[in-house]
Symmetry: C2
Subunit: 449 residues, 2 copies
């Protein structure tokens, strides 16, 4: 059932557009899911994409616009008039509508908002625009089914039909009191089974998970994942039900978060994809490489300081890449575990406990590796002093690297900074420098130069 | 609404268990969600966890068992009798039940299966056990609501009530024909609105997304994410509806996949968490560090080969950590983008195109960085030959590192091997060695030693 974009399909689209064969285009796209149409637009020349957005009905194109890449959407919206954008907005759920509006330049925002026909919809969008995009308020939509605890099942069914007409998918039926406060939820099963005269207050489930509008998106994701929720209601400071978040939005949050952390760990700062332009990819990568260059120059300067030792102890210099690599690897391992633990909210206990554990771990790994390295150098060089100096340094470097890798993410997190930036090149580079400094320091003490 | 485990809570639990105060324990845990009980068990001494599992009713404990860490579950199951495990299994949905059974040693599997009371349930579990755990069949559950296209709405509602009694959450109503083949789905809205005598065949939606039992879990995740699905039906080779996959399982798949890739990129081979034991963490980290050690020894050997150049060109040796670090960083960046692109299924075009793009990108980055390094060395050393040798080498190393980082994951993927293993230490180490080899090779050509 997987949809594949073929070269033939793209050529047909281009041909139809050239000939202004709108019937053929409508017939073609009518058969295709909006997520797939979006993929086609991502591939098409930009003018052709605008042509198709103008051609198809806005019920479809509004969804397509949500699915195309950010850069493609930005370019398409630039070409559309305020009225055309408002027509798309009218079709979208409030959460998506608010996302699109928030991407527009300030001047256009106003123009578009004034063109929106449904005043209720416009008001709800304006409300959503107030929330931080990484908060529960920024994720939630206003479309939901809510029933008053004082209604009967019959009235409830009637009201639900009206409300459901506005809503694409009914996730949960929320129960509120006269003040609009969230009281609980009603299961579809109970609704199907209960007698028609029963009051909602007699059958609803008073226990309901919820989040506050100001909760962080990441925390909402963790809660929904932990409790296996498909939708969660959002309440404001007065416990008034103000919206709901559905799992598909959370899936996107999780995916973006995971992709971002992965890229940061690999030294890629901006959200890029394999198919982005060379310029975008360069901007995302060059800063970290530049950091690495600085680190390398730093390491070279430290080594220059110990240049006198080179005549008698050339072999020390042969092992600098090994020391730097091990410091980097250990640092990345330690920081990755901590960053992931922080994200999943399962790092417990104090920083001291954590650092102690990392020291023990580094000692186990360090002992094993230092011993192997000692054997290798002793056998090949027959010099116990050199072999000891290099392997003891490796041992100490591994411990320090582990500590730095653990401490920096924990420190950043306490300060409210995303610890993920501390992984990858950042840790590698700082550990390279520390590693080489420690290495030559210890070697100097043992060998004495 | 976030649940927090306090020291006080844990101490109370321990105290109640010591005094065998089962009433207090029941009262306490009755108020707590099973996912939170699982978190408590993860913290408690293991004998106390077993005590609690035995105490609480299996409706709760079966869910708790699904939520505790894998190692905790394994230990608890070892302590339970086959009959006790079967009681838990009876409460679980088929997909979770099959997961638990598949974790048991072969002998116990049989013993437990024979103790399961509900024969229908047991048969369905046996069916699910046949599927690969990373396939749609391995993810799906047998619990679903299906209606025959020939039924009326009235009959449909009656049958649904019977089916729904067995099911915790109704996601979709699937429509099948007499042979059990998936025909489409029925929306709750249509069901609510349609007249009672209407036949299902007149109102169902014939367009329905589905996957095949043998589809890979990752592909199922991509499809559900792309089309924003909360549940997807699974069909066998004859198009017969055999199960359904829900988004909460996919969320877990995505999370595991992302965590695994992240850890692999950081050089951690096994699925570990920050709170695992030192021994588990060592086993996950040491192999990659050992690889790094080998790489370092390799680099040292290559440098030993060029030792004669040290007297006149000591500075060359100062920059080996820089060359190694840059080769590693570029390699990790390139491979991360490709690995992510492969996972998200958005790497298009041929390998040659991809490599050409990476060369262009590496040339842009390489030129910028080589130029900076040239300036730095030329100013500090006043030697144009040395400055050229080092910066030209850096340029070439960056290009080669980018190519290796791009090529290896693509190659592994074509061979059906998870490309994620090629990121992190693997790329770093191989690029260290290649980098230093190229570096001294080019330096030798330019300076001539």
């Amino acid at each position: 059932m997987a949809f594949e974009i073929t070269q033939e399909l793209l050529e047909n689209v281009t041909k139809y557009i050239e000939n202004k064969n709108n019937n053929a285009l409508n017939a073609l796209f009518n058969e295709i899911h909006h997520a797939d149409i979006a993929e086609i637009l991502d591939e098409l020349p930009f003018e052709e994409s605008v042509y198709i957005i103008r051609l198809l009905d806005s019920e479809t194109t509004s969804e397509v616009l949500m699915d195309v890449g950010n850069d493609v959407r930005e370019k398409i919206l630039e070409q559309l008039t305020a009225k055309e954008i408002a027509e798309e907005i009218d079709e979208l759920d409030t959460d998506d509508a608010a996302d699109v509006i928030s991407e527009l330049p300030d001047k256009r925002k106003q123009a578009v908002m004034q063109e929106i026909e449904d005043q209720e919809h416009a008001k709800e969008i304006v409300e959503l625009l107030r929330y931080d995009e990484d908060s529960a308020g920024g994720l939630m939509a206003k479309e939901l089914v809510k029933v008053n605890e004082n209604w009967t099942i019959t009235r409830c069914e009637k009201e639900m039909r009206i409300q459901a007409a506005e809503i694409t998918r009914v996730h949960s039926i929320y129960v509120i009191d006269d003040a609009g406060k969230l009281k609980g939820r009603l299961s579809l099963k109970d609704l199907l089974i209960a007698a028609t005269k029963t009051k909602i207050s007699e059958v609803y489930i008073p226990k309901v998970d919820f989040v506050n509008v100001t909760d962080k998106a990441e925390d909402v994701a963790n809660i929904m994942r932990k409790y296996d929720l498909e939708a969660i209601p959002v309440v404001d400071e007065l416990s008034v039900l103000v919206g709901r978040i559905t799992i598909d939005d959370i899936v996107d949050v999780m995916k973006e978060e995971a992709d971002k952390d992965y890229q940061l760990a690999a030294g890629i700062t901006q959200d890029v994809e394999a198919d982005d332009t060379i310029w975008e990819l360069t901007r995302a990568r060059l800063p970290w490489l530049f950091l690495g260059l600085l680190g390398g120059v730093g390491a070279a300067s430290i080594m220059g300081f110990f240049e006198d030792a080179m005549v008698d102890n050339a072999i020390l210099f042969m092992f600098t890449p090994l020391i730097a690599a091990m410091a980097g690897n250990v640092g990345v391992q330690s920081s990755a575990i901590i960053v992931q633990g922080i994200a999943n909210d399962d790092v417990k206990g104090s920083i001291t406990d954590r650092l102690l554990k990392e020291v023990s771990l580094a000692m186990v790994n360090g002992l094993a590796l230092a011993f192997l390295l000692f054997l290798f150098i002793f056998i090949s060089e027959q010099d116990i002093k050199i072999a000891s100096a290099i392997s003891i340094s490796l041992f100490v470097v591994i411990i320090v690297a582990g500590l730095i890798g653990t401490f920096i993410p924990l420190f950043l997190d306490k300060r409210g900074i995303d610890p993920a930036i501390a992984t990858g090149p950042f840790i590698t580079t700082s550990n390279d420098i520390f590693g080489i400094l420690i290495y030559f320091g210890i070697a100097k003490m043992i060998i004495g130069f």
